[in-house]
């Protein structure tokens, strides 16, 4: 065998391995989406029906079932509220830390890393008790507050990194022109770090939209979000895989959108702090 054909074979083998990996990664997602579009009988047919006329029956069933729309709008409100709140508060804090060279910024760095690892399940009991005392239990606002706090550390971390790149001369010249601190922050710095804000926003939305344990414990049948609602389907209706995969697909929709529109932001957010240094 010449070294050239050997090389080509190696490249071929490499592609084959990568494609095999991609199939393994995508197949479960493909299965979820196609099952949600299958006619009822085909949804559990074994051997599986690979080719079928897609129908939105399962989606229609879900749409008119129980309180799907209520849970959907709960999810939308909670996720949007948490995103706006958390990104705004984090941007303010990051600006304070970067611009005023806050003393103890090393403590802050250590603190954010520690806060990032606190699992929801550890918060669930004390926040449940606290929210009961404060009357925030079973409210969407209470859930929004927890999600704001949970993602603050990550958001400050990301936004701070972007803010450190903004040239100080810009801020200084604005200051000479008589702009107030808040004007400098909102009119000059924020527009410049828009990509950083979008990374923070996407990850906060993802947490609030996907989160399960806190939502399960802190909401009731009026205020619960979609992930909790879909989990109740498993026990209640047992084997209705059409509607279940339809709701699951709806829950996964923002993930698809973010992945295809903002893959680069996602990768920078996921690997933040891991690769540098």
């Amino acid at each position: 065998m010449t070294s050239k054909t050997r090389k080509q074979l190696l490249v071929g083998a490499r592609y084959l391995a990568i494609i095999a990996g991609a199939v393994v990664v995508l197949f479960p997602i493909y299965l979820m989406i196609t099952t949600s579009l299958k006619p009822r009988v085909a949804a559990f047919a074994i051997p599986p029906v690979w080719f079928f006329v897609p129908t939105v029956n399962s989606y229609v069933t879900v749409l008119f079932a129980d309180n799907f729309l209520r849970f959907f709008f709960n999810s939308v409100q909670v996720a949007l509220g948490a995103t706006v709140g958390s990104v705004l508060i984090a941007a303010l804090a990051a600006y304070g830390i970067v611009r005023f060279r806050f003393r103890g910024s090393r403590v802050f760095v250590a603190g954010t890393l520690v806060l990032k690892m606190i699992p929801e399940v550890i918060l669930v009991i004390p926040v449940f008790l606290l929210w009961n005392t404060l009357g925030l239990i079973n409210t969407r606002f209470g859930l929004v507050l927890v999600y704001i706090a949970l993602n603050l550390a990550f958001n400050i971390w990301i936004i701070r990194a972007f803010m450190m790149e903004v040239p100080r001369e810009l801020e200084q010249s604005a200051e000479i022109d008589g702009c107030s601190e808040f004007t400098i922050f909102s009119r000059i710095v924020l527009p410049l770090i828009a990509p950083g804000l979008s990374v923070a926003a996407i990850f906060t939305f993802r947490l609030a939209w996907n989160e399960f344990v806190l939502s399960l414990a802190l909401t009731n049948r009026f205020t619960r979000t979609l992930p909790v609602a879909v989990s109740m389907y498993i026990t209640d209706v047992g084997v209705q895989w059409g509607p279940i995969t339809a709701i699951a697909t709806v829950i996964a929709l923002p993930a698809f959108i973010f992945t295809f529109l903002a893959a680069r932001s996602l990768i920078s957010g996921l690997t933040a702090g891991a690769v540098k240094g």
Partner: protein
């Protein structure tokens, strides 16, 4: 307002909302949870407004004497070590395959993010569907290959393995992304020099590339360890800890102790143990990052 006062107050105005949120919603609850671990407190006490009763270390003593708790620790250790080892190995292989001049790399990399972004509840549901004993796709494939079907989630022997497989599916892409970024940062010159010296691919891998990304591999390992100790929802949806307690990891044991057994004090003791493990792991990250910040 005079300027000096303004100079000291303004930074605080910017950081105050964040500090308040973190103190009230994260730090205070965590500390009050630690306090509660020394008390006897049931959901019913809470409902009727009875105060927690101080019992010292009794919650911890009871836990360490309980067979369920010890099984849960064991299940957690098997789960965590298996997923982290497999994810690191597979992630490294994928990263090496894709590193350097692969056409369509961006597309593959994008596709690989999907499992990380999808809600854990959805991941649990999909796998539960695929693992279904009678109309699950996996057993269908096994039958087609002439193999025996496997009682994936329904036997104590297989349930933990099945849960581990789902986690590997979801999180290998994360390790892959970090290691790929690391490999792409390895200086080309270093590798070229190796090739010039007549190094084989494996020599180059073991003596140049792997040492160059050793610290990134370590970070990926710690990040995954932390997340694996925290993982709960996928298992909750797939098995709810069963059959028996064969997949009841520590975080699920905590949740069930709090909201099924309704023992808030004892559940808080489990939370303290989980927190201690996670603090230990993240302290490694903290030290490393502080060192990098100083540079």
């Amino acid at each position: 307002m005079n300027t000096a006062l303004r100079k000291t107050v303004t930074p605080w105005l910017f950081t105050l909302p964040a500090i308040a949120c973190i103190l009230v919603i994260l730090v205070f609850p965590v500390l009050s949870g630690v306090r509660l671990s020394f008390f006897e407190y049931a959901m019913r006490d809470f409902a009727v407004g009875r105060d927690p009763v101080f019992i010292g270390l009794d919650n911890f003593r009871i836990l360490f004497g309980s067979a369920n708790f010890r099984t849960s620790i064991q299940v957690t250790l098997v789960f965590v070590s298996s997923v982290v080892i497999f994810e690191l190995l597979l992630g490294l292989v994928l990263a090496l395959l894709m590193e350097g001049g692969i056409k369509g790399l961006r597309l593959f990399r994008t596709l690989f993010i999907l499992p990380i972004m999808i809600a854990p509840v959805v991941v649990g549901l999909i796998w539960r569907f695929m693992y279904h004993p009678s109309f699950g796709i996996l057993n269908y494939f096994l039958l087609r290959l002439g193999l025996e079907p496997i009682p994936w989630l329904h036997s104590t022997e297989w349930a933990l393995r099945s849960v581990i497989i789902a986690d590997i599916w979801q999180w290998t892409p994360f390790v892959f992304l970090i290691l790929l970024a690391g490999l792409q940062g390895v200086s080309r010159d270093l590798i070229e020099a190796g090739i010039m010296d007549g190094c084989s691919y494996l020599q180059n891998l073991f003596f140049v590339k792997l040492p160059a990304i050793a610290s990134i591999i370590a970070v990926a390992a710690i990040l995954r360890l932390i997340d694996a100790f925290r993982s709960l929802v996928v298992i909750y949806v797939m098995t709810y800890g069963g059959p028996g307690v064969s997949t009841e990891v520590l975080s699920l044991h905590l949740y069930k102790t709090a909201f099924m057994a309704q023992r808030l004090g004892r559940a808080s003791a489990i939370a303290v143990i989980l927190l201690a493990i996670l603090l230990l792991l993240s302290s490694v990250l903290v030290v490393r990052t502080l060192r990098a910040e100083r540079k």
